[in-house]
Symmetry: C2
Subunit: 582 residues, 2 copies
């Protein structure tokens, strides 16, 4: 071992000890007759001292040669520092170096290895191995490690069995696009990489394993955004002989446990909200509950007063922005520009100011009496000094637009505290969604989700009215997990496939093994999957998942460090029985 | 929850309790007015009892309907059994059923769900989810789970950080064949699935993470045998600022810990053996040390006595088979046939019997005096009653043939105890091996393995003489892990690439990122990887790894359960910019 201690370990109590340290040169201060080197490793920084008078000449000269990021190993004695540094754990001591060996030199790194680096994103990605030397990135990888461990400990202690499901599986056209892998031994055929181990974990329940979990890499060949990577890690779980309330209990405890262990935070009881309520009150099935500002449906009050924009709208919604009655024309114009952006698509924004002096000023004064506007403000729970913002339009567009406006106002008014965590279970999702483009129903979750028993009667004639036994766990507006109670009955599963537009042949071709399994005693079962990368970023209070992944890909799916993907030799392609299209 | 207890939980102390159980019908014994059902789940079996007299009629009739593998949920009272069954944990009690619900029916399974099944290998693979219901398979998956957990606990406690390295990486033509994945966003380019995270874990050391581990899926597109799967799990580890002795210490402790925790076995100190000794004494770098029977080089004694077969042979080796002097002509013939098999390739077998009466009989009496044969038997440490077996030939063929003969004799003589574990570290491997076919040197381990410092002088002129800082851990003749101290110097790494026949361009194209990393302060580092599937089978005393994998593939790389690999639509291939060869 090239060390007796790490660079984060020595304390005043080690004074007088002969020690052996190895690490990287963080900084050299050369004062002529006196040199200090900050020696860094994963565990911390220790100050080395070289006095020309008392140091062998060749050691002193070697110390002078050292540059940033050189790797050195030194031996010496621990002494008490004259001027202590209480910002680091080893700040009470320094090491008088007796011998030094340069294990490896370093060129000047392409960016500074400091908490605040001068390196841009592209450069940091190309030299990711240097980026990880920086504490902000290193700490994120250690947070991830701790979350991995705490997660596994929880499920191991709770009697779950960890099973590794295969990575080379079968492609299914349903859902997102699969990555595929040509088979050399079965030319013309392909494996697919799993988007999730969904069918395998269900089969494990058919096997009687009862409680399963796995931290597993999943893959989706989709166009990428900042919070999406082509490969990502999932906490995948499944249980038998349970219902929805058992899932919500078990996995609620899991999340509470993570917050307790990692952040020492008690998130309290996790509330449960219907999908319909989430949509009607927050315009989203991922509501950020760190602040209130619920939507009010104000159609009753605002329609029929001759204001065409509202009269013709399917939906008229209001929110109350507290203490914003002093907003200027310019402030309002900025909000109006925001809701008019094409991706939001509102035609305009109506405001009603409840001035401190009791007067009311709005952009629609000529259509509404003071009486009307007082009714409105009472409906919105608005007080003097508040500002009511109203949007109108087609229902789903308007809900979405109001959701965006609400989040913007939450940020503007600093109502969103990054240090608190507001989880909520969303339940009672619809089972299907009608897709106007493909003219057929799609699963809101996936085809294995069971319908709510009471809704079975409408399954045939009004599938869109059927609710699903599905649930998402949302924290601070981010969906961190979701799942469902699965279908365990072959007939029902076949019925669902039919509604989704599968022919019998297609259903059997893709999922025959699961339908077969349902012949041999499948227990009631259900489960959940959590996005592990998102949990990591949530716990660190960050939005992007990229820095929580040791070697991420960019938005073109490239790893610029190793320069992948790359070309493959014709010989290799020939062996696989494929060639590039012309 | 559809149960208050599991089927393995109830004891006499639960007598009188109202309980709720769910599980599979293992067996029904219908005695007319009395029905017993064995109810099974992951945790055990509980006996249910239905007495016509005291049971509601519809419950009794439902019980009659139940067949094997039906899924049922029952409520009832725990009573003491009249005739106890001490072969199961719940054997003191049974449950008088008050209500029963059939949750799912089952067709007659394609094979019996019993420890000894009537199902053949192919059928069991097709219905793997039923096979896992059988205890012998289920127990193997739970052993794997326990090994996963114990492994992670060890490395977490030892301060290793778990880092997930990417699955979509870059193809390298060196070594075994990669599985490749076409990139849609970068048409004409491909990712590769990792054969191991080798370069990534080295980069993590460049990053300063110091101690890394991961349980990671790796992939090799090779032709398959019973102990090889296209995807397999590796315990992957790397450390910085260490030398070979640190690795041998740390990972020796790890293996000892596994044996202690899982099997409650102390494997003692792990001996260290040179590669040359392993080859010369056992003809293999994976010696099975559960029995002795070392090779003796008997050239000195046996050559120059006019026996051409020996005189012309590069190598003459003997082993002593204890208490086998009574072997018949037929016994000897069988051994001779064995060594003459084409894959072994010896020309013949010479024997020398040391009879109990002190006389010596051999197949080469006319060439050797009694004096000669006594010298031979003393060289072989042979006693009265023993049999000396001699093989001659070209050196490496002869070593290999003798190794096979030794293992055969070990089995024949029942010297191999499956309940003991004999680990050994093999060190001082050669760095390169000359390949006559490609007319160039290949790495014995991989191109990143460092040479022994003292041998650097011969690197240029006699590369075949250079030893590697590499080590394998072998237990009972199976290599369960291997690794090396890596090169951390750019110049040396480039020199090695050159000896391996890489042009500068090729080296930079494939490993430029690693060579680049070596510019910025790479610490001395090294590591090891263990074959996790093999560890599982070793701990269960089995040879095949297949049953320790939940959903394995067959030797054609097929998953016959899900019918994968399979065809992909032309649309999907078009999107990827590839097509099938004509």
């Amino acid at each position: 071992m090239l060390r007796s201690h790490t660079c984060g370990e020595l304390r005043l109590s080690d004074k007088g000890k002969d020690v052996h340290l190895s690490g990287w040169v963080q900084k050299v201060r050369d004062k002529g007759k006196l040199i200090w080197i900050d020696l860094r490793d994963r565990y911390g920084i220790t100050q080395l001292i070289f006095e020309e008078e008392n140091t062998p000449q060749e050691v002193f000269e070697k110390a002078k040669e050292c540059g940033r990021e050189f790797v050195v190993t030194v031996k010496g004695e621990v002494i008490e520092r004259l001027s202590k540094n209480d910002t680091i754990d080893t700040g009470d001591i320094e090491v008088v170096v007796r011998s030094i060996e340069i294990l490896n030199e370093s060129e000047v790194p392409p960016f500074t290895i400091e908490d605040n680096t001068d390196g841009g994103d592209d450069l940091r990605m190309k030299y990711r191995y240097l980026d990880i030397r920086r504490s902000p990135i290193k700490d994120k990888l250690f947070l991830r490690h701790k979350l991995l461990k705490t997660t596994r400990d929880f499920f191991n202690d709770a009697g779950f069995i960890e099973v590794e499901t295969p990575v080379l599986i079968k492609s299914t056209p349903e859902g997102a696009r699969d990555f595929i892998v040509p088979s050399r031994m079965n030319k013309g055929e392909f494996y697919a990489l799993p988007q999730s181990p969904q069918t395998f974990k269900q089969l494990l329940m058919v096997s009687g394993l009862d409680k399963y979990y796995q931290l597993v890499k999943c893959f989706r060949d989709e166009d990428l955004r900042s919070d999406r990577q082509p490969e990502f890690t999932q906490i995948d779980c499944e249980m038998s002989f349970i219902d929805q309330s058992d899932i919500i209990l078990t996995f609620g405890l899991f999340i509470k446990h993570l917050f307790n262990e990692i952040l020492n935070v008690d998130i309290g009881e996790i509330p449960i909200m219907n999908y319909d309520d989430a949509i009607n009150l927050y315009g989203s099935d991922k509501p950020d509950l760190r602040f209130d500002m619920k939507f009010r449906n104000v159609s009753d009050i605002m329609k029929g007063k001759g204001f065409n924009v509202f009269d013709d709208a399917e939906s008229v919604l209001a929110i109350c922005a507290p203490e914003c009655s002093t907003y200027s024309r310019k402030d309002i114009d900025l909000l109006t520009d925001f809701v008019r952006k094409p991706q939001i698509g509102s035609k305009g924004l109506v405001y009603v100011k409840l001035n401190e002096d009791g007067s009311i000023k709005s952009s629609i004064d000529k259509f509404y009496s003071v009486e009307d506007l007082k009714k409105l403000s009472s409906q919105c729970n608005a007080k003097k000094g508040d500002l009511i913002l109203i949007l109108a339009g087609e229902k789903s567009q308007n809900l979405n637009a109001m959701s965006e406006l609400r989040l913007l106002m939450g940020k503007k008014l600093e109502l969103i505290d990054n240090n608190i965590f507001k989880p909520v279970w969303i339940i009672d999702f619809p089972l299907f969604i009608w897709d106007n483009e493909t003219k057929r129903y799609h699963s809101v979750h996936h085809p294995f989700t069971s319908p709510v028993l009471d809704d079975l009667k409408t399954l045939k004639n009004e599938p869109e009215k059927v609710k699903a036994n599905a649930y998402d766990l949302v924290i601070n507006g981010v969906e961190i997990g979701g799942g469902s109670i699965r279908i365990h009955d072959r007939d029902l599963q076949e019925q669902i496939f039919k509604i989704l537009g599968f022919s019998n042949k297609e259903a059997n071709n893709q999922f025959g093994f699961l339908l077969d399994a349902f012949r041999y005693g499948t227990p009631p079962h259900g489960g959940i999957a959590f996005g592990f990368d998102r949990i990591c970023s949530l716990f660190a209070g960050e939005e992007s998942i990229k820095d929580f992944i040791a070697f991420p890909k960019n938005t073109s799916g490239k790893d610029v460090m190793i320069d992948s993907p790359s070309e493959i030799s014709k010989d290799h392609l020939d062996e696989l029985g494929i060639k590039l299209s012309d």
